[in-house]
Symmetry: C2
Subunit: 416 residues, 2 copies
Amino acid sequence: MKTADPELMRAINRYHVIDAIRRDGPIARVEIVERTELSPATVSAITGALIEEGLVDVLRVAAGENGARGRPRVLLGLNGAAFHVVGVKLSAQRISITITDARGEALASLVLPVQLARQSTEVIADLIEDGVRGCVQDARLSMSQISGIGIGLPGVIDGVSGISHWSPVLGPRAEPFGQAVERRLGIRTLIENDANLVALAEHWFGYGRGLDSFAVVTVENTIGMGLIVDGRLYRGAHGVGPELGHVKMEAGGAPCRCGQTGCLEAYASDWGVLQMAEQLGLADGAMGDPGRRMAQLVRQAQQGDAALAQLFERAGGMLGLAIANIANLLNPPRIILTGEGLRAGDLLRRPLLAAVEANVLPTLREAMQITFHPWGDEMWARGAAVIVLRRIYEAPWNEALKNRPEEDVWMRSRSG
Amino acid sequence: MKTADPELMRAINRYHVIDAIRRDGPIARVEIVERTELSPATVSAITGALIEEGLVDVLRVAAGENGARGRPRVLLGLNGAAFHVVGVKLSAQRISITITDARGEALASLVLPVQLARQSTEVIADLIEDGVRGCVQDARLSMSQISGIGIGLPGVIDGVSGISHWSPVLGPRAEPFGQAVERRLGIRTLIENDANLVALAEHWFGYGRGLDSFAVVTVENTIGMGLIVDGRLYRGAHGVGPELGHVKMEAGGAPCRCGQTGCLEAYASDWGVLQMAEQLGLADGAMGDPGRRMAQLVRQAQQGDAALAQLFERAGGMLGLAIANIANLLNPPRIILTGEGLRAGDLLRRPLLAAVEANVLPTLREAMQITFHPWGDEMWARGAAVIVLRRIYEAPWNEALKNRPEEDVWMRSRSG
């Protein structure tokens, strides 16, 4: 719990005004007053400062234009050109990079096919450096115009300190990975669990827009979860987010690559389904992109392979049970499902929804929505950019920044 | 997310000062400045107002006294006599009532043995009315000196609207139970899930003191959970807290009284263990206080009944698995276990800790503590009083109060 001080209060109010403009802009001052419940004087002072800083643009709408009646209205919108950020998503088989403007609109993107597991942390940081420099060039920007970099990756990631405690792409040792990239590019870099960045992106662009609390479940080669509570990412001890993939679905269940047993990931992730298919002789153990191999398995199941269909049935049932337990335990008003794992379509979806129906307490069921939202890697990278955008707009509210004020240099490159 | 306004800021600062005095009082102003990180001027203004309102007492300590050196120090403490509240705990077999002062110290207590399940909501509200009147008399107070009533009960309780959606003691229909008691006594009444009140009480008096985030798991005839995040009770949609008892431990598992299967409560609550013991012919199905029957089963198991010991082994293993999953999902720095179910001692504790060890992700394990804290019913009732104390000290910060400002009448009886 933070003690309130005037500076903090101004930062919170400023963020709420920016957030209203971002969500609903172009927007008139009077509407900002309505949305934020701030006084007209406070809103005028804040928007005046934001216009002066160049973060907000003034759009004049003439009478009659855009359906506006009577006298001309002055509408405000975020100034996309105010600054630029980079979003990077690391997954098992590729590095995705996106440059966005201050509104989160993508200006340039790049996908590098790399099997990350066989590269050292140093090589991965090198590849990110080269990729970011190339992508910034593609966007016709210079590096001095980039205000921050956000990197999303699977694993147990401390988004506050920038340390990867364990990651399938960086390995089992604690790595100060944010610093490794920051050193190379000289630009402030944040790292975050990839499910958390999806949650932030849903909050900015997707089905979480307008919600104060919701959960996101990501089904890919790993299974992750991001939880937004009162508009902020939930973090446990040491800044780590929910590890849904390693929640145990049954005592002494299927063996997981984490060394424990019964993990959701062992049943319902791409990795888990492939493992089981191999053990049952339904898929060969050949190397290759798990995504492509999974797409092949889905086709076979859809064409009538009953044994494979059964595997997806079980994966969906386990996912549904896990989602029901999130609902029983945390009862968020909405749970959003996303990730490549959704490619299985109804094979997964039908048993998933049946398991939710059977296992959520009836009194909680009506208060909950389940939304499917398939995303591509570019969207994940855009989500990584949101990590930085949000931190810039929130500063100095954000307690992580408060912990290292000497590094609060977000804005330095805005004039660059 | 609340927009900050000056009034809200003052309320937050006021609460932080009160909270520092409550936690660490008697305390000097300079120490309050340190704890809260507020300016000395702000702390002086707030403490001055609190002294004037009669909420805070000035204790002068002469030089040399209590280890103090040099010039006399002025210490501040909460004024217990400032106002009084009532805490009520409903459980299957009894109604426990406690009157506390403004510091949460118990002045009088009363336990009514009543089998609540066979009484109507109206009769239960009548019994609470009579019990509260009697208990207030025992404390040598008049009803006009009571500022509020907090009632804790098991079930799906909306602590914001005061509605019991489902409760083993009030039944399956939605009941505006808070209002039923409020009407009888003419005193503002809050109801809350009983695990939530235990979480608040741990935060005030117990092992949660000084922690911003932690979880409490209660093992009784039902199984509950309370979650404190950033110093506040976590609530999902519709104000309902975590329903740990109905988290599913295996697909298609043991049948539960909620109508679903595989619920933690079916394996590890007093109700679940008794059910299983009856089914295996290890306990007769006679009526009677489940607490007493459970104590008997524990004795038999401790004296060498292997089949019964096995039941506790399974209950402990399932509890440990559920606690491991809370750690994997939410990773709170501490999980506190409490409730009558702990009477089984090492029969439960040993398999519980083994299951936690085997199922919490190794990277999360070191960041987590498990604490056992056996409590009596009087402590639960004292926790119910904390619901009210906290709301009084927080007002007008609390958003629930903001939602019904016309009822913000906490302080009316302070001068009574």
